[in-house]
Amino acid sequence: MTTPTSNIKTAKDYATDQDVRWCPGCGDYSILKQVQSVLADEGVKTEDTVFISGIGCSSRFPYYMNTYGIHSIHGRAPALVSGLRSVRPDLSVWMITGDGDSLSIGGNHLIHILRRNFDVNILLFNNEIYGLTKGQYSPTSPSGQISKSTPMGSIDHPFNPLALCLGADATFVARAMDRDPKQLRSILAAANNHKGTSLVEIYQNCNVFNDGAFFVYTEKQSKPQSTLFLEHGEPLVFGEGNTKGIKLDGFKPIIVDLEADGVLKDELWIHDKHDQVKALMLTRFFDDNQNAENALPRPFGIFYETQRGTYEDALHEQLKHAREIKGEGDLDKLLAGTNTWEIN
């Protein structure tokens, strides 16, 4: 039996006794820790929580969570989530996936769960590489990436994951990084509180096969210049001391220097997370090469959030409505059908 005090949990209560088997130094450790802290902060009950993953390094995640969990098959976690949410809308469901799992083999399922808007928090660990299979390029690897399967450089054009998700009508789209725990926690909490599918892309360093893929965003010397932290209702500012801003020139975002150009903060682009068109523009900042001069910074935070009915609520409503108009099903009547006859 549980005692009342056992309901107050710390991050540790969400950990299992299993040894965590990611490579030492893997970005996954930080994400695991932040998820456990957020669940503790939010007071999520372990028995009412399910973590479902696909296949890949990140998909080992459920084994380390002291909740219910399924480590399923490659790319299909959204399918399992859909089935579970359809019958158990009472549970808190989290889905753990990677760039190969959800954008390559499971690409189809990802877009469909987003359009259906099942209430689930999807954490997409993006390390731009296949780690578990030891270093092939992934659908998010930049063109030219040298990997085991692309010794002369990748000739694939990479996915822009958040643009894809917005295109599939996701109702919550955010980006975070493994090396900024504070921001990651705040986004995870927001994702958890969003009703509908929350898609959080997390830049995660694979220190074995793709070390430093995101250092330009995560390391001190380049982070201020290359990243933009989105806050709803706040102007888009970045750079050392937030001295730079982004202004819209028609549909074109331009970088301004607040001091040198004498631009006032309220002349800048004010982030509105409910504006889907602007959210799409923010996802396109991705197109700029960070090494180029005057490149737009990479945005982090909540790009877009909207309320739309969930699939499971609609399903429940339809069943309720069917019972209202037809009455509770009577199995004997159903078996008899409309035309019967007697043989005596």
Partner: protein, 615 residues
């Protein structure tokens, strides 16, 4: 003019026409009317894969064969007594299925120049040719008569022509002394709110009936008395419908939520359509984005404690394979329905075959045994899928339920059960641990080797499952060599043990210790049973056994097989069950195979058994 009434014991009618002629509807109406009258009926719809194949061509012919009688019937009949053809192509495609001396009822306007050319008859109208001399040919200008009947209806020619199947139906009701009542009710329901269409269709139906009465051409009518079926209340049921009802009943009797997840595919989609109509039973249907997602959703629902069912046909099952393997590893209940069709690949979507048996038994990576259960007739789909659900839930395993296009679309009278007579289904949901310090062991097993079903929301039972090999009892990931072998053997032993919880194998016809046993599975039941019964009546020592439980087989199956001198296994594939029986029991079972997308005829089975008897 005086008309004579002739008594018949059994009649086989084959309706054929363009796939847009309403042949299936006509066939179904005639079936329902006869079934309600008390005849035993058995049907075989046979249609092209194209929704509207080129009009007037042989490729576009849709057929519906119906056998009805005062006898106990198990098959839709081999050869037709009466062939109803709406055009020349329908005659060309089906004349080979008509008995010598049989009756042809032909819509003469379907034999104009264009139709003759499209059917490949050239300029010669076969209705007037000597080649049909061995049949009785009746020409009726159905198109013209229908148009005259509706001349004042205000409907356009196109709409009028669409009701010409009602004329044919009305005429046949007259010919077989049947009431129009069932079909009139059907028309009223189908066109609810469109009085002009109700009036038009009823008018044409009656016109057909009166035509029989007044036309001088037809001098005899027939009557087929009610069949001597076992006492009870009956309805008519199609296989896919019975499958859907069996699933709803299983959810109801187990007090579980139902999630039916599937992706549209011929010939399985009708199960989804039927289930989607019963949301007031709490039925949740999920049309997934693909076959894989449907299987995955079923697993997710099963993890959540619901009765989870997914369905498809062969190519779709191939896609679900990996997910079925996951369910084997997770040891979660799940029913996978395969309405088999001709393969491989896209194969023959609308034709029947039994060629997915190996797929069901072996079609997964690794040692991944599942339970395989097969239905043998339209109404038996209910019992068999109910058993599939019961075994899945009570033995925590995926179960593959095999149906096929023939029984899925065929229909027969069904003495449906009362809900209270259905065997209870008892899911073994795990209860919270009393001692919170204790560690929950999700893979601990009972005497049946079955683990508990610990569903989310239950305190103290938090646990993780996954596709990686499980450690015995704890379910933790384990790469230990001994443990892997133990788990593979245990999962197989769990399936084998189910044999202790299923009925013994009985004979469908004949007695033990005979000369020949005809062993069947699936929809070959009717043809085998009829053939064997006829041979028994002729004095032969033959018997028929039909397998419902294919994996595991009933405990006494070897004893049954070994009590016969010879075993023949007819199958609509290139020898699958026969190889299983041979390898399992080292018996020289004789294969008999047909791979034409068509069911066996009674005569084919009979001839083969006689050949073996006389060998």
């Amino acid at each position: 003019m005086e008309k004579t009434l002739e008594l018949k014991k059994e009649v086989t009618i084959l309706f054929a026409g363009d796939s847009g002629d309403g042949i299936q509807l006509t066939g179904n109406q005639f079936t329902n009317t006869n079934a309600l009258f008390g005849n035993d009926v058995s049907t075989f719809p046979n249609f092209p894969a194209e929704i509207r194949a080129p009009q007037g061509t042989v490729a576009g012919v849709s057929g519906f064969q119906l056998n009805f009688g005062s006898l106990d019937l198990f098959s839709p009949g081999d050869m037709a007594d009466v062939l109803v053809v709406m055009n020349a192509a329908a005659l060309k495609a089906n004349i080979g299925n008509l008995k010598t001396g049989g009756t042809i009822i032909a819509n003469s306007s379907g034999f104009d120049k264009k139709n003759l050319r499209l059917a490949g008859y050239g300029d010669e109208n076969p209705l007037q040719a000597r080649s049909l001399d061995k049949y009785r040919v009746h020409e009726i200008d159905v198109t013209k008569l229908t148009r005259s009947a509706l001349v004042d209806s205000g409907l356009g020619t196109k709409e009028i022509d669409r009701s010409k199947n009602m004329f044919v139906l009305g005429f046949l009701y007259w010919m077989y002394s049947r009431s129009l009542e069932t079909t009139i009710k059907f028309i009223q329901n189908k066109f609810k709110g469109k009085q002009h269409l109700i009036d038009a269709n009823v008018k044409v139906l009656k016109a057909g009936y009166h035509y029989g009465d007044t036309s001088e051409t037809f001098t005899s009518r027939y009557d087929v008395k009610p069949a001597d079926l076992p006492k009870g209340t009956y309805r008519n049921v199609m296989g896919n419908q019975a499958t859907a009802l069996g699933i709803v009943a299983a959810a109801h009797r187990s007090n579980m939520q139902l999630l039916y997840a599937s992706y549209p595919i011929t010939p399985a989609s009708d199960i989804l359509h039927e289930l989607a109509r019963h949301k007031n039973f709490g039925v949740k249907t999920f049309q997934a984005e693909d076959e894989i997602a449907a299987a995955g959703a079923a697993i997710g629902a099963s993890f959540g404690g619901a009765l989870a069912v997914t369905a498809s046909s062969g190519p779709g099952i191939a896609l679900k394979t990996e997910a079925i393997g996951l369910a084997v590893m997770l040891e979660l209940p799940m029913v996978i329905v395969n309405v088999q069709r001709g393969g491989p690949s896209t194969g023959l979507p609308t034709k029947t075959e039994q060629s997915d048996l190996f797929q069901a038994l072996y079609g997964r990576n690794g040692e991944a045994q599942v339970v395989v259960i097969s239905a043998h007739s339209p109404s038996h789909c209910f019992d068999a899928v109910y058993e599939a659900c019961r075994i899945a839930v009570e033995h925590m395993t995926p179960v593959i339920f095999l149906s096929d296009g023939y029984m899925a679309n065929g229909s027969e009278p069904w003495a449906f059960p009362k809900s209270s007579d259905l065997k209870p289904i008892k899911p073994k949901f795990a209860k919270p641990l009393e001692n919170v310090e204790e560690k929950y062991l999700p893979y601990l097993r009972d005497e049946k080797l079955v683990r508990e079903w610990a569903i989310p929301g239950t305190k103290t039972l938090e646990h993780r499952v996954g596709g990686l090999e499980k450690e015995k009892d704890t379910g933790n990931v384990s790469y230990d060599p001994e443990n892997h072998e133990h788990m593979v053997k245990t999962r197989a032993a769990k399936i084998a043990k189910i044999a202790d919880y299923i009925p013994q194998q009985t004979l469908a016809a004949g007695e033990m210790d005979g000369d020949v046993l005809v062993l069947g599975w699936g929809s070959t039941y009717g043809a085998i049973k009829t053939a064997v019964n006829e041979l028994i009546a002729e004095g032969y020592k033959v018997a028929h056994a039909h397998l419902t439980y294919i994996n595991p087989m009933p405990n006494n199956i070897e004893e049954v097989l070994k009590s016969f001198k010879k075993i023949i296994i007819p199958e609509l594939n290139d020898a699958q069950m026969v190889n299983i029986i041979r390898s399992k029991f080292l018996l020289p079972a004789i294969p008999y195979n047909k791979i034409q997308g068509l069911p066996f005829t009674i005569q084919e089975i009979k001839a083969k058994v006689l050949e073996i008897l006389n060998a």
